[in-house]
């Protein structure tokens, strides 16, 4: 027993020594591992997202020469949205010198990496997706669902529908169906919707769609049969355009169909065109080619022939979301440098501090060229989300148009749920939440 322990200790020491030596030989480069999927059923939506992330890094290098002199590097790794390939990519790239953070770009991969990130001390950024309870930074030290989660999305959708109906109390007796991707991605919003259903007295009908979501005939037959007042669409990739075509075939009014922000981009509606006219979806971010950051990308990257992907997709919804994600990553590094030394390469732990202490007010966003694209965001030890703003936009057959004001998720509903969820997580894992001193450091 003792001997075997000794042997294992020796083996571990030998292994970690070899890792340590490679870490010393690092250049002055901050490395961004880019997990992406350019193949498979989710590729239409994964590609612009990945292009946006890459182009922003290229733009920062070309325009500013990196962050305070630290050059940014990246490597893409194809996951195909599969969890095991995503884990392989993570393992492949996490050991590179100067790794800043991971954006897993898939909810399933996020779940798997949530267990690994604290061990490796690399933060995870899951903008608008991932684990909803991870907003509680006291329990989830390494997860950052910036700008919103499925719970905030579900909450805002119900707020908006209530407003359209003339007040949340008018939802009483109404029937709302949730057509969702049958995976953790699609199931995450259910608790919030159930809570809201209890509060306002509407009936919630669950209609799962098996991944990847090209087979929805039975689901829409059910919609036709039960005639819900509204349908919420919780899809991703090919599932969205399929759902819209089925809605058209079923004759379900498209203006009663509301998508989450992962179901509200150009690839989802382009093929359906006029058939999707009137379809609403959440817009987590602004978009369009006119904003300063997109112009900078066009000027510094695409005009020089360095761009990733087609030029006419620059500024589209998911492309811009990729740009925002990468901007937040870069700004986290910049924030970390303010504290741990400008012009240095930050470790994952230091970047984590930067992510936890982001303060992007309107002035800063304007300076970065993000005015009109996103609302201010400020994070803290206990709030890893920073903001919950979202709008609704509507497809007019050719382009998306904003059709509502900004909404914020209802803290009073979500806060107790997040607390309960993170408490359960900690209890299941036999862990304790971070103490206040951990926030000071």
């Amino acid at each position: 027993m003792k001997l075997s322990k000794l042997v294992i200790a020796a083996l571990v020491a030998a292994g970690s020594a070899s890792v340590a030596t490679s870490a010393f030989a690092q250049a002055k480069e901050q490395f961004f591992p880019l997990l992406s999927y350019r193949t498979g059923p989710y590729a239409p939506n994964g590609v612009p997202w990945a292009n946006g992330k890459q182009d922003y890094i290229k733009m920062i290098n070309a325009r500013d020469g990196g962050v305070n002199g630290v050059k940014l590097t990246f490597e893409e790794c194809e996951t195909g949205y599969a969890t095991d390939r995503g884990v392989e990519c993570y393992e492949r790239l996490k050991g590179r010198p100067g790794v800043a953070l991971f954006d897993p770009q898939a909810t399933g991969i996020t779940f798997a990496l949530t267990e690994k990130a604290p061990v490796d001390k690399i933060p995870l950024m899951t903008l608008g997706y991932g684990l909803s309870v991870a907003q509680d930074g006291m329990a989830f030290k390494w997860n950052f669902p910036f700008m919103g989660s499925y719970w905030t999305g579900a909450d805002i959708l119900i707020q908006h529908i209530g407003k359209q109906a003339g007040g949340l109390d008018k939802l009483k007796g109404k029937k709302i169906a949730l057509v969702y991707h049958d995976s953790p991605f699609g199931k995450e919003p259910i608790p919030v919707l159930q809570e809201r259903a209890k509060m306002h007295g509407f009936e919630l009908q669950m209609l799962p769609v098996t991944a990847p979501g090209v087979e929805q005939k039975a689901t829409w037959l059910q919609v036709r049969q039960s005639r819900p007042d509204y349908v919420l669409l919780w899809g991703w990739g090919v599932m969205n355009s399929t759902a819209l075509k089925e809605a058209q075939a079923t004759g379900f009014p498209r203006d009663k169909l509301y998508g989450v922000w992962w179901a509200g981009a150009e690839p989802d509606v382009r093929d359906v065109g006029e058939g999707a006219k009137g379809y609403h979806a959440l817009a987590l971010n602004g978009y369009g080619p006119q904003s300063k950051v997109i112009q900078d990308i066009l000027k510094n990257v695409h005009d020089k022939g360095q761009g990733t992907g087609p030029k006419d997709e620059v500024g589209s919804v998911l492309y811009t979301r990729g740009v925002i994600i990468q901007m937040l990553a870069v700004e986290s590094v910049r924030r970390a440098q303010e504290r741990f030394g400008k012009g240095k390469v930050m470790t994952g732990e230091q970047v984590r501090w930067g992510m936890e202490n982001l303060a992007l007010d309107q002035k800063k966003l304007d300076a970065l060229g993000f005015s009109g694209i996103m609302r201010p965001l400020s994070t803290s030890c206990s709030d890893h989300m920073g903001s919950t703003w979202s709008r609704v936009h509507t497809w007019d057959g050719k382009k998306w148009d904003f059709s509502s004001d900004w909404y914020q998720a209802d803290e009073q509903i979500l806060k107790p749920m997040i607390k309960a969820g993170s408490d359960k997580y900690l209890a299941d894992k036999k862990m304790t939440s971070r103490d206040a001193a951990d926030c000071q450091s």
């Binding site: 292994g15 890792v19 193949t39 194809e78 969890t83 095991d84 399933g108 995450e188 991944a211």
Partner: protein
């Protein structure tokens, strides 16, 4: 010259019945085990462990289990992914519901759950054979997909259906580092492989093979088809279930039902067919082919293209990887339909006669 058995006389039944009757084989296996247990943990990098070796070891175990059912007993199964899932969720449920349960009993209990599930879905094998059975076992796959997505009890009332484990330990030693995970899985694999090897060369294994080769004849000479088929299902799904528990607990850490989708069933069947039906060695070869080759191709292609000054996009690599992998499978099955294990034994036969072939 080196691989000759001249002068190795077997004077006892024990000596004649060894797993490796030739001394050179015994030395080679001992060396291989030494490399796997001592040299590899000292040399391999963290990435190599977590991304290649651990999945390889676990999938080898699963392929071994499938091989018992498909290769030795001839019962084609497309439900292997389901057996893995039952093993994983079974182990998870005992792990979270019984406080302080160590890892090994949890994994074995997960295997037992899979065993009962396997026997249940093996019952149709008493009536149907071949492709019909393959479709019947596919039902196990769909059933488990439905069960773990819909019945909340199995996922400990998790909202999203995704579950996770932590704090794994064996005899007080934490299974956290890549080395310890690898060694733990490898040790289990060695035990399982030894048990399986002994099973298939004993009376039970001969019954399975008799059923596979001609079930009516087997029944005539006194083999009970029900016992033989169901025992094959039981042993196979027990091993596959343990592999599923390891895949979930040790490799993924957190998983959702999609981790054990029908695709996993197919991959396991491919492993067995490419590795070699009815051969313990084949499971290892097949797992290596299916698990490691895509990853190697994925990383090797950009480097290869780089030599010629061509840069290839991520999507391009991914497409090329699928095409080359598919082409290799087809080429391979044409050249050697009996699998990699057959190549291996042909090589051994040739070596025995070398340098004087006849």
């Amino acid at each position: 010259m080196l691989y000759r058995e001249n002068g190795q006389f077997k004077t006892t039944y024990r000596a004649d019945q060894q797993i490796f009757p030739i001394a050179q084989d015994r030395i080679a296996i001992a060396l291989l085990l030494a490399v796997a247990f001592i040299a590899v943990p000292m040399l391999a990098s963290d990435y190599f462990f977590r991304a290649i070796l651990i999945p390889l070891v676990i999938m080898s175990m699963a392929a071994l289990g499938v091989n018992i059912l498909v290769g030795y007993c001839g019962q084609i199964s497309l439900g292997s992914g389901a057996f893995m899932a039952v093993g994983a969720y079974g182990a998870y449920n005992v792990f979270v519901r019984v406080p302080g349960l160590p890892l090994i009993p949890a994994i074995v209990l997960g295997g037992l759950c899979a065993m009962f599930f396997g026997i249940l879905f093996g019952l149709p094998s008493l009536r149907v054979k071949g492709l019909y059975l393959a479709v019947a076992t596919l039902a196990a796959q769909f059933f488990s997909d439905w069960m773990f997505l819909r019945i909340k009890w199995f996922t400990n009332n998790s909202d999203s259906g995704s579950v996770s484990v932590n704090g794994l330990q064996v005899f007080g030693m934490p299974i956290e580092s890549a080395q310890s995970k690898y060694l733990f899985c490898l040790a289990l694999l060695v035990v399982v492989a030894l048990l399986a090897k002994n099973l298939v060369r004993g009376a039970v294994g001969r019954e399975w093979m008799a059923i596979r080769d001609m079930d009516v004849a087997a029944a005539v000479i006194g083999i009970r088809p029900m016992y033989a088929k169901l025992s094959a299902f039981a042993v196979s799904s027990f091993i596959v279930g343990m592999a599923g528990a390891l895949w979930a607990f040790v490799h993924l850490g957190a998983w959702e039902p999609a981790a054990f989708s029908v695709e996993v069933s197919f991959r396991l069947l491919f492993m067995v067919i490419i590795g070699g039906l009815g051969s313990i060695m084949g499971g290892f070869f097949g797992a290596a082919f299916i698990v490691v080759l895509p990853i190697v191709l994925n990383q090797f292609l950009p480097a290869l293209m780089g030599l010629f000054g061509i840069s290839i996009s991520t999507a391009g690599v991914s497409h090329a990887e699928l095409m080359i992998f598919g082409a290799l499978i087809v080429w391979f099955l044409i050249v050697e339909p009996h699998g990699l294990a057959k190549l291996w034994s042909t090589a051994k036969q040739k070596l025995r006669l070398w340098p004087f072939p006849h």
